[in-house]
Amino acid sequence: MRYLPLTDTDRSAMLETIGASDIDALFADVPEEARLSGPIEGLPMHASEMAVEKHMRRLSKKNLAAADAAFFLGAGAYRHHVPASVDHIIQRGEFLTAYTPYQPEIAQGTLQMLFEFQSQVARLYGCAVANASMYDGSTACWEAISMAGRITKKRRALLSRGLHPHYVNVVETMAKFTGDDIASDWPRLEAQYDEDALIAQMTDDMSCVVVQYPDILGRLPDLQKIADAAHDKGALLIVANTEPVALGAIEAPGNLGADIVVGEGQAIGVGLQFGGPYLGLFAVTNEKHVRQMPGRLCGETVDAEGKRGFVLTLSTREQHIRREKATSNICTNSGLCALAFSVHMTLLGEKGLRALAAENHRLACLAADRLAQVPGVTVLNESFFNEFTVRLGQDARAVVRRLADDGVLAGVSLGRLYPNREELADGLVVAVTETTSEQDIETLAAALEETLT
C-alpha cells in the first residue's frame, strides 16, 4: 500500500514494544461478535494509482464540462476565469495540508491570509468586519437570520421573493426546528423589483428582512429604500449576494443600509465543482454586533517580542469554548476556498475587479439585446448585472434539455428552481461572464431561434 509506511518488520517490533501479541489484541475492547474477521465482502481490494485514475477519468467523461459547451448557467454559481496562479498557490502543501490555526506561532501563513481575506470581504461588502468564512451562501444566510434573532430578540424573518429558492429551503428547514417564523413567497415575473410589495409585508415583530442583490431573476432592488423601511420596524436588513463580481460594478450593500451582508464567494477563485465546496461570506456593518457573529474571526495582535502577528480571537462565541451556549455549531469552515478567493482578489485588485465587472456587464447587455431579437423571446429585466431572465413562451426546462443535446447549456430554467410554479415555467435565467464569447451568444441565439420556431 503506497500510503502506509509501516513494514511488517516495523509492525512486529512495535507490537513487541507495546507488549501485544498481535494486532487484534489492540482491538480487544471491540466486542468480538462485532469485530470483522477480514475485509468487508463485496468491495474491491486496493488498486494502483493508474487504475484508480482511469476509473475516475471514465466517470468524469460522462459529464459535459462547461468549457465544452456554450455555457450560460448562473443562479447562485458562476463560471469565471480563475488565474493559474490561484490553483498553484492553494496546492502548496503548507496551505493545503495545514489544520485550523490553533497554534498561531506556526500558522501565521494561514492567519495572515485570513486577516487579509476578512479585510477584502469587508471592503467588497462595504462592511466593518467579516468573518473567516462559512460553509456556503445558503448556510450563511440562515446563520444571519439566527444572529438577527439574537440581536433583536424577535423570531420572525421576512424573505424577499427574489431570494434563491435553495436558500429559502435551507432557511425554512432550519426554522422548522428552531421555531422561527419565516414569511416567504415565490418571485413574480415583473421587469422591476417590487420594493413596495416587500415593504407592505413588514411587521413590527420581524427580526429581519432578507433581500438577495442582485435577485434570483437578476434584478437590482433598491436596498436603501428597503433598509429604511426595515429599520423603521426595528428589524435588521440582511442582504444576500450570490455573485461577488457584481460588487465591482454595483454599490456595496453595506453602503446602502444593510446590517448583515452574507453571500456566496464561489465566483471568485473557487470554480463550479458541481456545487461544492463553496465559500460562505459573512460580514456586519456595525462592529458592536461582532460578538453575536458565528464562525471564526482572525485578529491582529503582537507576540512576546512586540512583532505583529495574528490569532483566532473572540472564541468565547464558539462551540469549543461555549458548547451549547455558542452562537453557532460551526467548526470547520471553508479555509482553502477563502484562500482561493483572497488570492484571486489580490490578483484582480480594485482595477481588475472593476474591469472584470465591466466586461461581465457589457457581455450580458450584449446577450440580452441579441436574445431580444429572437422571435418568441422576451427579456424581462430592466436592470441587471451579468444575469437576466428571459421568457420563452413555452416550457423553458424542456428547451434547456433540448439545447443541451446540442452542446448548448442555455441557462437555469425557473422550472428547475420552482418545479411546481406553472406561471414561472417559461422563464429562463441566463448568466453571462467574461468566459462567454460573443460567438457563444450567437450560438445561443441561433439555437433558441431554431427550437422556438
Binding site: 489484541a25 435551507v170 471553508s334 472584470l356
Partner: protein, 550 residues
C-alpha cells in the same frame, strides 16, 4: 537525546536555546530563510492588477479605464445602482502575488512538513492523486444545475461513494449534502427530531458526555434541544448504569463519540444503544474518530442510528487550514426516511438519479426533513474521498485502522513512563493516546510543553481536550507515519516532557525558533482588530475601536 532516523543520521550539534549564538539584527527583520511579509494592503495598490482582459469594457463605471478597441458597446443596465467611490482593494501583479503567498506559506506548519499529531483531527497524508482527480474538467467545471443528463458521471461518483460509506458502516441510508462534521451532526439530530415528531413524540433532551467535542452540545442546542451531561466511569467510558437511570420519555437521544475522545472504544456501545432504543430514543454517533475502526467494525452492528463521517479526516480530503470539510451522515432504517434532500438513487436500469424536492415522492422519500444546503454537497470532496477509498480498497482500509491504532499504542507505551497516561492502565488505546499534566514541575503547563514541542519541529498535540483530563494532551499520529518518524517524535516529546517535569523555566518562553514567539491573545480579544485600516497619520490619534463590551 537525539533520535537517529532510518539511516542513522542525527544532527551534529544539538543546541538548546542557551547555546544559540544571537547574530546581529538585520535591517529587514528577516533571518535568512525566515522571511517577514507585509500585508497585501501595505504592498499592493488599487492601480495594480495581475489579470489582463481581452477587452476591458467601455462602460461609464468609476475607476475603469477606457479600452483601446471596443468591439461592441452597449448602454449600461445598472441604472442608479453603479458603485461609487473606491472599494479599497489592493492589487498585485502575478509575480508579486506568487511571492507574497509563497512567503506566507512558509510560516505554516503542515502535514507535508512533518507529523501533525492533533488528537481527534486525523491529520493523515493527503494523496496527490485525489487533487488531480478533483481537477478533471468533468468534475471541476460542471455546474450544479446543469440538466441531469449532462452530469451522470458526477451523480455516479456520489452514488459510488455513498455505497462505500454504507458498506463500511453497515447502515441503511446516507445523506450526502452536509458540508462538514458539525453540519453532519446537525443533520443527524434533525433526522432524530423529524422521526420523533412523525410519531408525535416531543422529547426535549439530548444526552452528551462531558468528554464530547464542543460541536455536539452546540449542535443539539442549535436544533432546539436541552443538553444534559452523561457521566463517565473512572476508566474514561460512558457510565452505562448512570445512563440507564437517566433515560426516560423526555430523552430524544444520546450523542456518543466512538471511539471516544479519550481514545477508547466504548465497549458497551451495543448495550447503550439497546437501552436508548428501549426507552424510545435514538443513538447519534460522532464519527470523527472513525479512522480507528474503519474496516474493523461497523457502527450499524452496534445499534447506531446516525453517524457523520468527516471525509476530511478518515478519507484524507485536505484540511486546507480550516476547511472545506464534508460530513455525510449514515442513517439506520428508522431514520433513513427522514434524511434531507438531495441524494442520489440508482434505478433498475442502472441510471443514477438526483432526488430533489420535485421527485422525492417518485423515489419514495416523501418524509425528508428538508434541505441543508444549496445544491448537492461537497462534490470536490466526494471525488477526493472516493479516489482515496478506491486506492485503499477493503483490505487497505482495514490496514489503515490497524496501523493507526498500532501507531497510537506505540506512542502511548513509549511515553507512559515519562508522561501520565490516565487511562493507560485499563488497556490499549485506539487511534489516539491521551496524557495528562500530572507530575509537571511547579508552574509548568501543557501549553508550555506544547510550545516546547514547536521548537523541536513538531506541531503540538491537541491541548486541554478532552475536558475530563487535567491538562489533557491528545496525540493522534495516524497511519501515514513511519516508525522512524514516530521514534523521532517520541524522542522530542520525551525530552520536552522531562523538561516540564524538571521545571525547566526556559520552557515558559518557548517557542524560540518559530516565525513568532507566543502571541498576546488577551490583547487580541480585548481590543479586536479584525480588518485592516489605513494607519492614522504620524502624531494623530489612534483609530477608536467600537467593538462593544462583553
Amino acid at each position: 537525546m537525539n533520535a537517529p532516523n532510518k539511516s542513522g543520521w542525527k544532527p551534529e550539534s544539538p543546541v538548546g536555546h542557551e547555546g544559540v549564538h544571537e547574530g546581529p539584527a538585520t535591517v529587514t527583520g528577516n533571518r535568512a530563510l525566515m522571511l517577514e511579509e507585509p500585508l497585501i494592503f501595505e504592498i499592493g495598490t488599487t492601480e495594480t492588477t495581475g489579470v489582463d482582459f481581452e477587452f476591458a469594457g467601455n462602460l461609464d463605471l468609476a475607476g475603469v479605464e477606457q479600452p483601446a478597441k471596443p468591439t461592441q458597446n452597449v448602454p449600461s443596465r445598472l441604472g442608479s445602482h453603479a458603485r461609487k467611490g473606491e472599494i479599497g482593494l489592493p492589487g498585485l501583479t502575478e509575480p508579486e502575488t506568487v511571492r507574497h503567498y509563497t512567503r506566507l506559506s512558509r510560516q505554516n506548519y503542515a502535514i507535508d512538513l512533518g507529523l501533525f499529531p492533533l488528537g481527534s483531527c486525523t491529520m493523515k497524508h493527503n494523496p496527490r492523486l485525489n487533487e488531480k482527480v478533483a481537477r478533471m474538467p468533468g468534475f471541476a467545471d460542471v455546474h450544479p444545475l446543469q440538466p441531469v443528463d449532462t452530469v451522470r458521471g458526477a451523480l455516479e461518483v456520489m452514488n459510488e461513494l455513498a455505497h462505500w460509506l454504507l458498506k463500511l458502516t453497515g447502515m441503511h441510508g446516507v445523506a450526502m449534502s452536509p458540508k462538514a462534521g458539525a453540519h453532519g451532526e446537525l443533520c443527524g439530530i434533525l433526522c432524530i427530531r423529524a422521526a420523533l415528531e412523525a410519531r408525535g413524540d416531543a422529547r426535549k433532551v439530548i444526552l452528551v458526555p462531558e468528554s464530547a467535542h464542543g460541536t455536539n452540545p452546540a449542535t443539539a442546542a442549535f436544533a432546539g434541544y436541552e443538553v444534559e451531561d452523561i457521566p463517565a466511569t473512572a476508566e474514561g467510558r460512558v457510565d452505562l448504569e448512570a445512563l440507564k437511570q437517566r433515560l426516560g420519555p423526555d430523552v430524544a437521544g444520546v450523542m456518543i463519540t466512538n471511539p471516544n475522545t479519550c481514545g477508547l472504544f466504548e465497549r458497551d456501545m451495543k448495550a447503550i444503544s439497546d437501552a436508548v432504543h428501549a426507552a424510545g430514543g435514538f443513538v447519534y454517533c460522532d464519527g470523527a474518530n472513525f479512522n480507528a475502526i474503519v474496516g474493523k467494525v461497523r457502527p450499524g452492528d452496534l445499534g447506531v442510528d446516525a453517524m457523520h463521517i468527516n471525509l476530511h479526516k478518515t478519507f484524507s480530503t485536505p484540511h486546507g487550514g480550516g476547511g472545506p470539510g464534508s460530513g455525510p451522515v449514515v442513517l439506520s432504517e428508522a431514520l433513513a426516511p427522514f434524511g434531507p434532500l438531495p441524494y442520489t438513487a440508482r434505478d433498475g436500469d442502472g441510471v443514477v438519479h438526483l432526488v430533489e424536492e420535485e421527485n422525492a415522492d417518485e423515489f419514495e422519500h416523501p418524509r425528508a426533513f428538508g434541505r441543508m444546503t444549496a445544491f448537492h454537497g461537497q462534490m470536490g470532496m466526494f471525488t477526493r474521498a472516493l479516489t482515496y477509498i478506491l486506492s485503499h480498497g477493503a483490505d487497505g482500509l482495514k490496514q489503515v485502522a490497524e496501523d493507526a491504532v498500532l501507531n497510537a499504542n506505540y506512542v502511548l507505551r513509549s511515553l507512559d513512563e515519562v508522561l501520565d497516561a490516565p487511562f493507560g492502565p485499563s488497556g490499549p488505546c485506539m487511534h489516539e493516546a491521551l496524557f495528562s499534566d500530572k507530575g509537571f514541575g511547579e508552574g509548568m503547563s501543557t501549553l508550555d510543553l506544547a510550545k516546547g514541542l514547536i521548537d523541536e519541529g513538531f506541531h503540538p498535540m491537541t491541548m486541554y481536550f478532552p475536558l475530563v483530563v487535567h491538562g489533557a494532551m491528545l496525540v493522534e499520529p495516524t497511519e501515514t507515519e513511519s516508525k522512524a518518524g514516530l521514534d523521532q517524535f517520541i524522542a522530542a516529546l520525551r525530552s520536552v516532557a522531562e523538561r516540564a517535569k524538571a521545571g525547566d523555566e526556559s520552557l515558559k518562553a518557548s517557542p524560540y525558533y518559530a516565525p513568532r514567539r507566543r502571541l498576546d491573545e488577551t490583547q487580541a480579544a480585548r481590543k479586536p482588530v479584525l480588518a485592516w485600516k489605513e494607519p492614522s497619520p504620524p502624531g494623530g490619534p489612534a483609530a477608536p475601536s467600537e467593538v462593544g463590551g462583553r
